[in-house]
């Protein structure tokens, strides 16, 4: 009974410590101006994606519902953002497109981070033949040019949102794997890990208590820096015609505006909004990522002061 009480209180102490650490990170983050700007941008875009049904009618995305509208209408002729070559509202496409761009960005990043972290931890912690096989695999994936591989995979699997997520996720993990492995390798040799091992700790205990908690900040920072890369990839793939043809996304808007000749007409209300949207999201994650990296990596923090 007394053991149960001590473990419970030990857990409580651990939680308190974690809460305090989180509060410390937040108070430092709040002082990072670029980081706060990034967070603000992200909140803005997420709110827009969530409120899409309130901001624009989804039916406006379909060309059949836009038959009566003027084509290539400027924003002053057709509020708020004009129409495209089929008379569809650009505003509706922009608002609903934010959902797909964010969804692909977050979901593909999740796949990339899970695979990358798993490969990195296993390769770093266990060593031996498993490690060398995994590292060879990582090297191969690093060497295969990402965009052509993604293009080939996307054209094999066919254009759909799920496939785009899978393709980008499965090609974006090697960088994370390398970073995580390097960190795990140094952690494994730390004195407290060795001490724990000498006291008879199981692998599970070592992984759960020492390795995972110590690599997770790194994984979080890596996550925020992977999202921008992933979102830019989605844009490029959609632009090359490999996106979901039935769902509006910012990349697809750029593709359609280019194909419909918005450039020669200089229909700025069509090609500017999706690009600006992508820039906002990418910038938001880059700023957040750098801010987190500086707070979580003591080496960088020291350099900052």
């Amino acid at each position: 009974m007394s053991t149960a009480a001590t473990t419970a209180s030990a857990r409580r102490i651990a939680w308190q410590r974690r809460r305090r650490a989180a509060a410390r990170v937040w108070s430092e983050y709040r002082r990072d101006v670029p980081g706060m700007i990034g967070l603000g941008l992200l909140v803005l875009v997420v709110l827009m994606a969530l409120a899409a049904p309130l901001l624009a009618d989804e039916g406006e995305l379909r060309a059949v519902n836009a038959v009566g509208n003027p084509t290539w209408a400027t924003p002053s002729e057709f509020a708020p953002l004009g129409t495209d070559n089929l008379g569809r509202s650009v505003w509706a496409q922009f608002v609903w497109g934010s959902r797909i761009s964010l969804l692909v960005g977050l979901a593909a990043t999740a796949i990339a981070i899970v695979v990358g972290a798993l490969v990195g931890i296993v390769a770093g912690f266990f060593g031996g033949p498993v490690s060398s096989i995994l590292m060879r695999l990582t090297e191969w994936f690093l060497v295969i040019p990402f965009l052509p591989l993604a293009i080939v995979l996307a054209s094999i699997l066919g254009p759909s949102v799920e496939n785009i997520i899978f393709v980008i996720g499965i090609t974006s993990w090697p960088a994370t794997a390398l970073v995580v492995r390097a960190q795990v390798l140094t952690l494994r040799e730390r004195l407290y890990v060795e001490r724990s091992r000498a006291l008879g700790a199981t692998r599970r205990h070592l992984l759960g208590r020492h390795i995972l908690p110590n690599v997770s900040p790194l994984i979080v920072a890596n996550l925020t820096l992977t999202v921008p890369v992933v979102i830019l990839s989605e844009t490029t793939l959609s632009f090359l015609g490999l996106g979901d043809p039935t769902r509006a996304s910012w990349g697809k808007m750029l593709e359609e505006s280019f194909a419909a000749g918005a450039l020669t007409r200089n229909a700025w209300w069509y090609y500017l909004p999706p690009g600006i949207g992508i820039m906002m999201v990418v910038l938001a994650f880059v700023l957040i990522g750098h801010a987190l990296e500086q707070i979580l990596d003591p080496r960088l923090r020291e350099r900052r002061s």
């Binding site: 191969w140 060497v143 965009l147 293009i151 632009f239 090359l240 690009g275 880059v286």
Partner: protein
Amino acid sequence: MSARFVAVKVLGSLATLAFVVVFNFFLFRVVEPDPVANLFRGRNLTQEQRAELQQQFGLDGSRLEQFGRYVQQTAQLNLGRSYVSNEPVASEIVERAWPTIALVGVSTLLSTVFGVLLGIVAAWRRGSKTDYASTTFTMTTYSMPDFWLGMLLLIAFAVVLGWFPVGGITDPGSDASGIAKLLDQAHHMFLPALTLTLAYLGEYTLIMRSSLLETMREDYLVLARAKGLRDVVVRNRHAVPNAILPVVTLIAINFGFVLSGAIAVEAIFSWPGLGLLTYDSLNAPDLPMLQGLFLVFSASVIFFNLIANLLYAYLDPRVRTT
């Protein structure tokens, strides 16, 4: 650099290349188990015609036989025939490689030179207005999809101002030759090259900046200053040569990727290089061409990785012993 070190690196690259060749075969056999049926859908083919077409595209026999033939042909640099033009894939790729090499070569050169200079200035005057301005600029260009940046430049300088052509590599119908032709091509290359230069610039600036910042903390720089050396000498003779090492590696590695990275930008400017070829093969779809392109892109990454490794070992003696 010992011969052993070079041999190990070269062998490693060859092993990777072998992996890519095998991977390539299976990747594309999964795409379409029976390309002939797909390609000539809706046409009545006799059994003989089918067999002939299959033989022409190297699709007859069992998977194992196909694989054997594929490896043998690839080793002889025979990449099969295009479904679209029925020309050998290899010669078409070689022909289309030159515009890409010119475009990418010029853009890489410009972006590295300016990126490194900008990075040096930003790091050396850390926290200054210049540092702030260059970081803002870098972040902005990094956040843009490269082809969107190209679209904006195209509209501004080709559509609105009309200073540059909207696409292609020469004026249509032009029969200029010699210097005039070269100038015409340079005129066409300006906007895509500017797009790629701006798109790559940011990365080099950031890497050079952080590498130099790290070097500036080293003891030997403190010593150099303590000796009373002028600021410029400390920077140019002591700090930059050491800080530039990771950038050199990055340039070599990126050069391999860059060959395939210009796909969307080439499509925007109809620049007739490997990127546009990929874009067109994708829309066709022309599988042997895509397969060949994929192989060439991978091989170029592997090759430049090898160069980067050897270069790094040559420049930094510490690496050689490991």
